[in-house]
Symmetry: C2
Subunit: 381 residues, 2 copies
């Protein structure tokens, strides 16, 4: 990982999607480039020509990050209108989507209007869904303010809301016209949420980039100290890796995009069985899921224990849990077999074949899965 | 227009949209080909592989047309579940969309589920919107049962619902995986609704195909008598013409798709000023709009009065109104300037340059428009 200094700007990252190609701008405590970047991105976008006004969506947590945006929009000919959503997952609802549609109707939004989503995954998913469906698609600008949103949900075009019956079940693929990441937003992020973002960062190393994984091992201290240059380079690397996957499989059709699910098959089960009571956040469940799925790859003879040990050690240094306590393997297995991604009963996993490479497989037996779920792996240190 | 006999099947019409290419099957009182066509279309579709179950959406009016579908679905490995929506435009609501999402969740719909919309424009738009947004897009099968839906709304991928503030404002572009048209459905259609569909049929002749227009002039009697072979050929021609436009401008980006708006600029104004009280249905307002917009093209010197006379005479033979009575030109003008398709104040029209060809223009002056709106053109006969 090269380490740009604070004054060395990071070149915008391109997500190559033909007519829907867009760029990700990463800055550090410097909102000046945002206005010109936005104007240029909207003018170049398939949908954003002659943008005249924008609905800026935030929640109470991300509200402070909106302040530098409003004058930047106005200075570039885009009249902003602010819409505040209650913070938290319950806002990914039909009711809140309806309020956004009404706000867009109230500002007489037409094809010259954009939606700017400032916040974490909830705001990006909700505002992105409103943008995807209003007037059959308004240009969407993502301004993620959490690490998880920066490296994951803001890039890739998945937007949506929850039903009481299922999370993220109502939604669309709607690529943003531009993404702006200011790493300074992370200064106010609660440490537990920052660590959860790091779980997804580690995932990129395991699934796609062994060199990046080694860089993370080297840079644990500057990362935890929020060194701006290190964080900027780290986020840029994750965005570039996600951009590469999304470019190859925009709508999850070829199976290629499934590599991003490493750690998530077991992670989702951990979350649904033990997590919704607040015991594990998403990133924590994924951290445990990655270690257990790597252990499963060992059982299949795909990797040696050294890979799992390195993954587990790095996650622990980032303050993430790697061992599951007190959840019945049978309950986790049942949650996994309910997962919508399974076909014909076999549980589908994305497992490492070495550090930096994964494969989609139906080959894990129920016995192997149950035995791995019962593992109480000792810390490698 | 060639006239296939009842036993001569019409070859399926292809809507060429790359990976989203789909076919339109037209039959006459013969549901037998539907099952194999559906299975084949879903298997070939980007989204429909291994389809196992389907939500079949209808209203009280289209309910009888569902009966032959359910066994055809079951016989081809697709378990159907019926969902009945109240008849009428108010069903294009967030509330009804939510009920459809809940029905899909209740049947545990995943990527192996499809939505089958059986009915007129309201059912197609509503069920299509649910299909577009559930699990980020389920395959959609359109089974239009009104003439307007057969020749217009079922082909082209526009789906959506209304807000109290604006019609069709929440929606998406979501191409169907297949369209099945049984011309026998038209037997039970109220005559006024059938005529409204004919207004859009005439439109295709004016904007794209002078030969087709002449065929319509020749075939007025068999059309009004619901001759199956004539209706089948007519619907096939309209679908092929719409397919050609949609293939070239799927998401209304190039302006090409705007040709379909001939008659609709004034038509929408007539509808919104005089129509919502029930005085004019959509097709009736479009009929008046086409005659007035053709008159406007005369004023600009683009065409002679012969073109308008032929359009007006054909519409009258189909029992459609062509003269506007008792609506203030100033009110219509105001409604038009509110239209979202206008840019920078000028009213945008699609006007004929000859029979079979139209051009998008901002060239009409307010004076010309007002003078045309005040026209009480005499019947050419």
């Amino acid at each position: 990982m090269t380490r740009p200094t604070r004054t060395q700007p990071i070149p915008p990252i391109e997500v190559a999607l033909g007519a829907r190609t867009y760029r990700i701008l990463i800055t550090s405590d410097d909102p000046a480039p945002f206005g010109p970047f936005l104007r240029e991105s909207l003018d170049a976008s398939w949908a954003g020509r002659a943008c005249r006004n924008a609905l800026v969506v935030a929640d109470s947590g991300s509200r402070p990050h909106v302040d530098p945006l409003l004058p930047a929009l106005a200075a570039h000919g885009i009249e902003p209108r602010l819409h505040i959503v209650p913070a938290g997952e319950p806002s990914k609802s039909i009711e809140q989507a309806e309020r956004l549609w009404e706000a867009l109707a109230a500002m007489k939004a037409d094809r010259h209007a954009a939606v700017v989503a400032v916040g974490g995954g909830v705001i990006g998913d909700l505002a992105g869904f409103a943008a995807a469906t209003y007037a059959r698609g308004l240009p969407l600008v993502m301004v993620p303010t959490t690490l998880l949103a920066m490296v994951d949900s803001a890039v890739g075009g998945k937007v949506g809301i929850n039903l009481p019956q299922a999370k993220n079940i109502v939604g669309a693929f709607h690529q943003p016209a531009a993404v702006w990441i200011d790493t300074a937003s992370l200064a106010t992020l609660p440490v537990r949420e920052f660590r959860c973002g790091l779980a997804e960062v580690v995932k990129y190393g395991v699934i796609l980039d062994a060199d990046f994984f080694a860089d993370l091992e080297r840079d644990v201290e500057p990362i935890l100290a929020h060194d701006p240059a290190t964080l900027g380079a780290l986020i840029a690397r994750c965005c570039a890796l996600k951009a590469q996957v999304v470019s190859q499989d925009e709508r999850e059709e070829s199976g290629l995009r499934a590599v991003l699910n490493f750690g998530h098959t077991i992670g989702h089960a951990v979350e649904s069985v033990a997590g919704y009571g607040g015991r594990y956040l998403h990133g924590e469940a994924v951290s445990i899921g990655m270690v257990l799925e790597s252990t499963l790859a060992e059982r299949l003879g795909w990797i040696g224990p050294d890979v799992t040990d390195r993954i587990s050690a790095l996650l622990q240094r980032f303050g993430l849990p790697t061992v599951l306590d007190g959840t019945e393997p049978a309950m986790l297995l049942e949650a996994m077999t309910r997962d919508k991604k399974n076909q014909h009963g076999a549980i589908r996993f994305v497992l490492p074949t070495r550090l930096g490479s994964v494969t989609l497989t139906d080959a894990a037996s129920v016995e192997n899965v149950l035995s791995v779920l019962a593992t109480r792996r000792a810390s490698p240190e």
